[in-house]
Subunit: 337 residues, 2 copies
C-alpha cells in the first residue's frame, strides 16, 4: 500500500511536501501541490491513521461500549440510540469502534479498551448500575460520556451523562393514570441492574406515594425489557385476586407483550385493563390499540451524547450533563374510570 514516501518519489519531491499537501498547509507551491495530488490519485494513496495516530497521539475515533447482555442489544430502542451516535460521528468525521460488553464477563475494563486501541474517548451505553470501573477511568481522566445509564441522584458528580428524565417520565405516566381515576396501578419493571429500570420504578413508587396510594409488592413485577416477559408478567398480574385496573410498563416492548396477554385472556385494552408504556418506539403507534406511552428523544440522546463527548475531547473541558425531556403521548390504551 502506498505511503507518503511512494507518493513523494512519484511526484519527485520529498515526503514532507506530501505530508504538507495532505494536511492542507499553505506553504506549498501550487505547482508542486498539483503534482503531489496527481501522484496521490494515481497511487490510490490514503493516509495511514496508525502512523498519524502514533505521532499525534490521537486517532479521531471513539469507543462505543454497548451492552450485549441478553436481549437488550436487539432492542429497537438501542438501535435508535446507535443511529444518533453514528450520525454525529459521521458529521464530526470520527470513527466508531464498537465494544460489545458481555454481562457474563463481570467487570468491563474500560481503561484497557481505551488504551489498547487508543480511541480519543469512550461512549458508555447503559453500564451496570454498580460499576466501580467507571470511577477508575474518572480518576485517570479518560474522556467519556455515559449514555442512558445515569441513575438520578446516586452518581458520581464528575461523570458526564446524557439520559432521559426517567423518573419524571415515569411519574407523568403514573400521574396520568391516577388522574384518569385509576387507583389499582401495577408496574412491570425493567431490570434492576439497569439504571433506567430503577429510575422508572422510583418514579412509579414516588408518584403513588405523593397521591396517597400505598403500593403493593404484588403489583410490582420485574421483567427484562422484552416483549415476552411483558407477556408473562401480565399473565401473573391477571391471576391476582385483586386485579389491577391499570399497568405501567417500564418500556413499550413489555407493554405490547402485556396487551397481548390481556387480549388472550379474553379481556380488553383499555376496556378492562389500561396500559402505559415508555420509550415510544415506532411500533407503539401501530399497536392495537395504539399505545399511550412516554416519548423520549432516543435518536437525539445518542446524537447529543457524542456531541458532548467530542466537544470534551477537543476543548478539553468539562461539559455539562444533559437530562432530556420526556413527554407523555396519549393514544388509546388507557380508559378513564
Amino acid at each position: 500500500m502506498a505511503s507518503q514516501r511512494d507518493v513523494a518519489k512519484k511526484a519527485g519531491v520529498s515526503f514532507m511536501t506530501v505530508s504538507r499537501v495532505i494536511n492542507k498547509k499553505i506553504n506549498v507551491d501550487e505547482n508542486t501541490r498539483q503534482k503531489v495530488l496527481k501522484a496521490i490519485r494515481e497511487l490510490g494513496y490514503y493516509p495511514n491513521v496508525l502512523g498519524r495516530g502514533l505521532n499525534r497521539n490521537k486517532t479521531e475515533a471513539i469507543g462505543v461500549v454497548i451492552p450485549t447482555c441478553s436481549h437488550l442489544f436487539s432492542t429497537q430502542y438501542y438501535l435508535e440510540l446507535l443511529r444518533g451516535v453514528e450520525q454525529y460521528c459521521a458529521i464530526a468525521g470520527y470513527g466508531m469502534l464498537l465494544y460489545p460488553a458481555r454481562d457474563d464477563s463481570g467487570m468491563i475494563d474500560y481503561q484497557k479498551l481505551y488504551q489498547e486501541r487508543r480511541v480519543d474517548g469512550m461512549l458508555i451505553i447503559a453500564p451496570p448500575v454498580k460499576d466501580d470501573q467507571l470511577k477508575i477511568i474518572v480518576k485517570k481522566k479518560v474522556p467519556f460520556v455515559v449514555l442512558d445509564g445515569h441513575q438520578a441522584g446516586s452518581s458520581d458528580k464528575r461523570i458526564v451523562f446524557v439520559d432521559a428524565d426517567n423518573r419524571g417520565g415515569a411519574s407523568e405516566a403514573v400521574q396520568y393514570l391516577i388522574d384518569q381515576g385509576h387507583k389499582k396501578i401495577a408496574h412491570i419493571a425493567g431490570w434492576k441492574t439497569v439504571a433506567n429500570g430503577r429510575d422508572r420504578l422510583f418514579g412509579y413508587k414516588s408518584t403513588l406515594k405523593k397521591n396517597g396510594i400505598s403500593h403493593k409488592d404484588d403489583y410490582i413485577r420485574e421483567g427484562d425489557f422484552t416483549e415476552i416477559t411483558g407477556y408473562y408478567k401480565m399473565k401473573d398480574l391477571l391471576g391476582l385476586k385483586d386485579r389491577p385496573t391499570a399497568v405501567f410498563a417500564a418500556n413499550d416492548l413489555m407493554a405490547i407483550g402485556a396487551i397481548r396477554a390481556v387480549q388472550e385472556t379474553g379481556l380488553g385494552v383499555p376496556g378492562d385493563i389500561s396500559i402505559v408504556g415508555f420509550d415510544d418506539i415506532p411500533s407503539a403507534k401501530y399497536s392495537n390499540p395504539p399505545l399511550t406511552t412516554v416519548h423520549q428523544m432516543t435518536f437525539q440522546m445518542g446524537f447529543e451524547a457524542v456531541k458532548l463527548l467530542i466537544e470534551n475531547i477537543l476543548q478539553d473541558k468539562w461539559a455539562e450533563s444533559r437530562v432530556m425531556e420526556t413527554k407523555l403521548v396519549v393514544r388509546e390504551s388507557v380508559k378513564s374510570l
Copy 2:
C-alpha cells in the same frame, strides 16, 4: 500513558524483554518475567495497537460496513445479524470498526475505509446491488466478505458472500400458498436496490410461473421493508377490484403492517386474506395471528460471515461462499381454500 519503555525502566530491564513477555515468547527467564509482569500491573500498561499495527502491518480489527440507509439499520433483523458478527469478533479477539454507509453519499469508497484505518478486512453488509466499488477492492485483493447482499447468479464469482437462500425461501413460501389452494397471490416486495429484495421477488415470480399462474403487475407492490409501508401497500392491494386472497411479504415487518391494514378494514387474517412473511423475527411468533414466515438463521449468518472473513485473513486463502438454508415456519396466518 505507560509504554514498554516505562515498564522496562520500572522493571530494570530493556524494553525488548518487556515486548517478549507481552508476546509470550518462551525465551525469557521466569524471574525477569515476573518482575516485568509486576511492573505492567503497577503501571496499568496495555499495549498500544497503533505501534503494534504499524510494525506488524495488521490491526486485528475488521471494518463493518452497514447500511444506515433510511430505516434498514433500525431493523431487528440487522441487529440480529450484528449480534452474530459481534459474537465471532469477540471469540476471535478482533475489534469491530463500524462504518455506517449512508445512501446519500452515492458510492462507498471501501478502499479508503480499508486503507485509512488499516483494518485487516471488511465485512460488507447489504451493499447496493449496483456496486462497482466492490469490483475495485476485489482487484486490489482487499479481504472482504459480503453479508446479506448477494444477488444470486449475477455476482462476480470472486466475491465471497454469506447469504440466505432468498430465492429458495421465497419460492417455498409461495409454493405453500399455492398448495393451500391460493391462486391470487400478491407480493409486497422489498427495495429493488437491495439484493434480497430482488431475489425474493424473483422467487415469487418464478414460482407462480412454474405453477402456471401468470403474475399481475397490480399484485406486486414495492415497499422499503418497514412496517408502515407494509401497511400502506396492503391498503392499496385491498382497494383492488380483483382482490388477492393471499400476500407474500418480503419481510416480517411489512407482513405485520399488512396484517394491521387488513384488520383495520374489518377483514380478518387468515379468514379473508392469508399472509406470509420472511425472516422470522422474534415478534413474528407473537403477532396476532402468529405469522407464517420463512425462517432464516440470521444470527448464524453474521457469525459465519465473520468466521469466513477472519479465516481468509489468517490463512490468506479463498474461502467458499455460503448460502444458508431457509425453512418455512407454519403458524396461523394462512388459511387453506
